[in-house]
Symmetry: C2
Subunit: 200 residues, 2 copies
Amino acid sequence: MSNELPLSKEQILDTAEQVLRRFGPDKTSVLDVARALQVSHGTLYRHFSSKASLREAVTDRWLTRSIAEPLADIANGTDGSYSVRLRLWLQTLIGCKRTYASDDPEMFAMYAAVTESAAEIIEAHLDHLIGQITTIIEGGIRAGEFKALEPRETARAIFLAFLHFHHPAHFRQWTNERIDADFDAVWRLLLGGITSVPSH
Amino acid sequence: MSNELPLSKEQILDTAEQVLRRFGPDKTSVLDVARALQVSHGTLYRHFSSKASLREAVTDRWLTRSIAEPLADIANGTDGSYSVRLRLWLQTLIGCKRTYASDDPEMFAMYAAVTESAAEIIEAHLDHLIGQITTIIEGGIRAGEFKALEPRETARAIFLAFLHFHHPAHFRQWTNERIDADFDAVWRLLLGGITSVPSH
């Protein structure tokens, strides 16, 4: 197999994602991906030693591209007040999850499975997202719009308080007719908890 | 089988719970429960027409006895301020769930499965619990301790904001070392959102 061209990680992940979508995560083996790439099992094995590691790498890339990167633009943006930005950030996170749950069910199912099994990848993803909320909270505190809260701890609490709307375990509730009213109710509660009270 | 004594629903559920604990929910059939009760399959079938309905009835009774009833005493109690009562109510809910997850894993697994499949039972249970939070919120508003919130909507938002700590889908997180710090952070956020601001 000395005539094989070197494979980039991105090429492998592109093909792995296609194969995983076609066959489903349970039925896709490392060998299937090697075949689709027209390389030997051994070549691919040097990059990914198991089905699980292949699935996790594809999910990790998907989480970064489809969730974390679009949200970073909002967290680092300058439009509107900090509470407007925080609400938009949460709604975008939730909107992305809902869209993927309905329009990309294969990828969503794989992400839901990885959420259960690959704690490290998910922890890193959550830390990254909570870091983005922290940026918004810090800005709001500096601007006097939010109370003098502990930013990172508050960001984590906000992320957890909205779990119903973005954690894949609850996706069946996302088509419930009162999901938007529920979001508004939790949002109002949160906003009351973080907004600074005008001094007299 | 005319010599069979009439069976009460409670007797059936007591025996069904024992059998389900012994064999596990997946392996227990209506016939197993009939055998343990020493009645014919047909007799039991008049009460429960499927494995699923038997499991749901046992879970429903368990939810009422183990969760809803102990919490009602707190919601209807008169000790402490309303925010102290609300915190105690949430901590008791969460404490019950954690205890059952570790000490009664068979029943907890059955409850987690029913949560996924039997929407009506779970909805009724949630409505009941949210009604208890509503009672506390209404008291706190009357006493001037809480803002003039819409009580039921606020109660639902509080229940949802603490999902991470009480929904069975998240039970793996309950042994995480920072779970109590996370609870405190969400609690502080919530308390800031509901507590009335002293007027000047």
